[in-house]
Subunit: 308 residues, 2 copies
């Protein structure tokens, strides 16, 4: 028996066929239509029906990049997909595909995957941070995915760590997301490049966080300093989670974490420096082992567990 | 039937006789012996036995200003009372007074009082911040006092909001507590007084946060600016709680909140500016109605509920 896990991103929709054990056995991807609701719905239902024509599905879980209200079960806002505003996505899709459909914030879904099938298996208190264009987050507290009053928790990327700092897409200033994300890496690199020699000045293509990473690997001092600074901010993020929530585990995922130890090592050192000793001892900080598949697997597992 | 709630502070130990409904019917206070373990224990047992000689107690709850491990039930560290390091306080006191004794972090105890008998009654998700010499905190999540892996949560006062900022007693820099507390008010006032005319320059006694408050009431511009800035930091603290945990309520208590609206109003405005719209709408920010009695009442209610 299978569940389908769908992970709607700002540019790509990924769908994965997941066994009820959490094992991903097949996947596909299509581009996201961001500005047209009926085209988005049509592409989603076609995607799901493609799997239905081949296997028997028990349910569908959909991770959405936005806030989902647990009471109304509506997606209320999605900054990168404006057509997903105040939409009963799960009800509408369920009516089209005649299957139980559940939605959840995409980072919450990935956090759930890390809890069910990743390093968090068997733990009670953990956080998952996903470093992509922005900074997504989800936490498991007392052995359950934590949603807060309306299911909007946790938006840890929008906690302020540098008041009066960089402008954030949410309208605030100095949010963690403006520092710890691909966007944050880009802005930090551009700041450090001013007046400093760096191979980043000689690129023929627009600067990306990935190019910063490659330059760092090749020893470029500005690129290395950029990742070092980003790692230190990531460590402050971890310390704030540790001091606030006394977690057993923080899992770091998302495309940016492909940089691996070059980010992880300064992060762990900075987390140690900013944490209280006792809760720091309780907490491991690790890189995700589910990688980009966490979102699909988690959405499928949420679909599975919402039926029990 | 009564429970005794004991609130151990850095300078004073308060003890309150509490009905099982949470109503405080009698209280007393003694000075805290901070540097001598046997004198501290002796004063605690004498205090409890004084109540035992007059009424029948069903149990004792003790709030301690430090970290308490939920597994070992030991107080592991208390920055202001060095003799409370790695001490089985509840077992030792229980053996002396022949009653069930429970310990808890003092701010967690006060948070529990606000949840059981204060504005949080009937809610599922709330935080309590207590602004004293430092910044204490406790949260109720999913209708339960949240402790995390070992019971050290939450130490929200030690989340970093100004990296590289003021030195904190915990050894880190830029913790919220260095800005939002009596100590924070004092440091902010001293910074703003440099080169500015203010009646704070003319005081015959050492500057305190209370004197800053009185000067603000009398219209002193430096004192007013100090409380305005502190209020804005308090608002950032609230916004970080709101974005992270999607709470229904934040209760603000502690001696510093005697300043009332002069702190609360800039805090609410700053919280609104730094919060995501949807979770901000879910959350009220209010001043405690239990005031300095919250610690005693909460410790007593924890003693009550630990027996069920």
């Amino acid at each position: 028996m299978y569940y389908l896990g769908v992970d709607i991103g700002g540019t790509t929709i990924k769908a994965g066929l997941v066994e009820d054990t959490g094992r991903l056995v097949d996947q596909t991807r299509i581009p996201t239509v961001t500005d047209n609701w009926s085209a988005l719905l049509s592409s989603l239902t076609t995607l799901i029906q493609g799997f239905q024509s081949r296997v028997s599905l028990k349910g569908v879980g959909i991770g959405v990049p936005g806030l989902r209200n647990r009471h109304t079960r509506k997606v209320i806002t999605s900054p990168n997909i404006p057509s997903l505003t105040d939409v009963s996505l799960e009800k509408i899709v369920a009516d089209e595909v005649h299957l139980p459909v559940t939605t959840e914030n995409d980072a919450n879904a990935a956090a759930y995957a890390e809890f069910i099938c990743g390093y968090g298996s068997g733990l009670q208190h953990m956080a998952y941070l996903t470093l992509g264009t922005g900074l997504g987050s989800g936490v498991i507290l007392d052995g359950k995915l934590f949603g807060g009053a309306s299911g909007y928790a946790v938006e840890f990327g929008h906690t302020v760590v540098e008041p009066g700092g960089r402008s954030c897409s949410c309208g605030s200033l100095g949010c963690l997301e403006t520092l710890v994300s691909a966007t944050g890496i880009l802005l930090t690199a551009l700041e450090l490049m001013r007046g400093e020699p760096s191979r980043l000045h000689e690129l023929k293509e627009p600067l990306t966080s990935e190019l910063v990473y490659h330059a760092a690997i090749d020893g470029d001092p500005v690129a290395r300093a950029t990742l070092e600074i980003t790692g230190r901010w990531l460590g402050i993020a971890c310390a704030n989670l540790i001091n606030a929530l006394n977690l057993e585990l923080i899992v770091l995922g998302g495309g940016v974490m492909a940089a691996g130890d070059i980010l992880l090592m300064p992060a762990v050192e900075s987390a140690r420096r900013h944490s209280l000793a006792a809760p720091f001892q309780d907490c491991r900080i690790v890189q995700s082992r589910l990688g980009p598949e966490a979102g699909m697997i988690g959405a499928a597992m949420i679909a599975r567990d919402s039926q029990n």
